[in-house]
Amino acid sequence: MRLNTLDWLHRESAQWVADGLITSEQRALIEARYPAKRAGSPLLLLFAILGALLIGAGILLVFATNWWRLPVGVKVLLAFLPLVSAQLLCLYIWVYKNQSVPFREGGALFLSLAFFAAVALIEQIFHQSSSLDAYVLRCILFTLPGLYLFRAKAAMAIYVAGAIFVGWSQPEWVPVALTAAVLPFFWLELRASSAKGVVNYLLLLLSTLLSGTLLQSMQDWADPAEVALTCGLALLLLDALLRRFGRIYLFSAAKRLAILCITATLLLTSLDVFYVGSAYSAGTLCAVGVAAAYAALRYLGRWPLFSSDLFALSAVVLVLSRSTGVVASLLVTALGIYYVVLGSRTLALSKLNYGMGLIISLIAIRFFDSRIDLLIRGVVFILLGVALLGVNLYISHERRRRSA
């Protein structure tokens, strides 16, 4: 039984004894019937991971400040550290958690990124001047076997993104070969999915093409962020229309793409890399117009609020606030915390991962924010991590004390 429910039982049973409903012996028997669950909360575990991640990133930043002072041998060892850690983790997953999709996905993703990091660090240590294309090509080729071994879709997305990046600048046979190498993976995935899965894949592809065309056609009179947010809102409108007309199995592709579109824009805006939109530009009016149509449809439908509304609201706030990085960062933080809490309460892994993904992305963005001094960033990261772990330890301690 959960600790807060046990607390309630403890208080109430004391009252029952005082009221003469039960005896003290009966109270003890009732309480013994409901032992406290000793299992840790997933939320606490996640915050512990986040705390460790912050401390790790902070240490890396402090190292980066004095990187040039380290002997080459030490730098090389540090470069291999993430790759070897990822391999050990993947070996553990392979042996003990091979049936767990989240573990396989997470492990393969970590391994791919660790390989990218190791090669980048070694090339940096020895000041190698290979082109970015050559570097990405080498890395994606070495991550390819991992996709098949772990059947990992997230790592596959990195491969595909890398292949598209490399494909533009290589002879024609290179993109063809890179695509051919990943086709069996798609075939295996499609064979394992239902008709709904196939329809979603196709819809996602179609929506991507349509959004790209829209982006292309609007780029002369609107800011890229406004265009992306308008696309996201239009997809939410499409999702609402599909719900209205009952094509239930078509929902997820439009909604997922809308979430992706709005999330990516929020994250990019938090970097302050683009967007200097005016409150009355054509792009703003377009975004607000689509949002109004969406709100009208939602109001007429009289449905209760659901998650799409949060994204629509975030998009509108971003457009109307003339999007500064601070507003975008606050929106990402709020969405991240909301989904972590929601995911851990409802035990919905996808929501939990999405929330964690948002928070980690925001941390990563600040990690690379060169406007703040390396050492200051490092110290702030370490302090935040220690604070998070400290709160975590305190809550765990309290829970143990109360369950004793």
Partner: protein, 164 residues
Amino acid sequence: MKKRSAYLLLGYFILQLALPGQLVCRHYHTLRTGESYKFQVRPYDPYDPFRGRYVALMPDLGPQGDRRGEYALLGRDADGYAVVTGWRDERPAEGPYVKDLQLDRYYMNEKMAPQAERLSFDLDLEQNAFYLLVKVRQGRYVIAGLYVNDTPIEQYLVNADLNG
């Protein structure tokens, strides 16, 4: 089946370690045992999204163009700085040489790279030596450091910071 997959996984891990491992072996050996050459350079400060901030360099390597796959013949001028005396399509039979000579980048942290760029504009290069120390061994080369008047540029920038 499971055993075969485990071997595949281990093989994959070894392959993954082999690429950076081979890069390290090759460069580390050259760095430790190679002959030193000083190339005079002028830096500027761009950014590589994966590998970070670096100082891009413009060394004088003789006639430019696409020199990939070619061998650069190395010599020294009267002041002891390295010069490229010529380019060959085939491996030279004698004399110091390097293949694919591209001294176009030197990685630094994001704080120091712009400072290094500013320094290169502020310094009078006629009065101060700004050079890249390169180790060369059997046609291979590794950049050992960027120097200002025989002081590593990182140390030079720290000293300049301390002296205001």
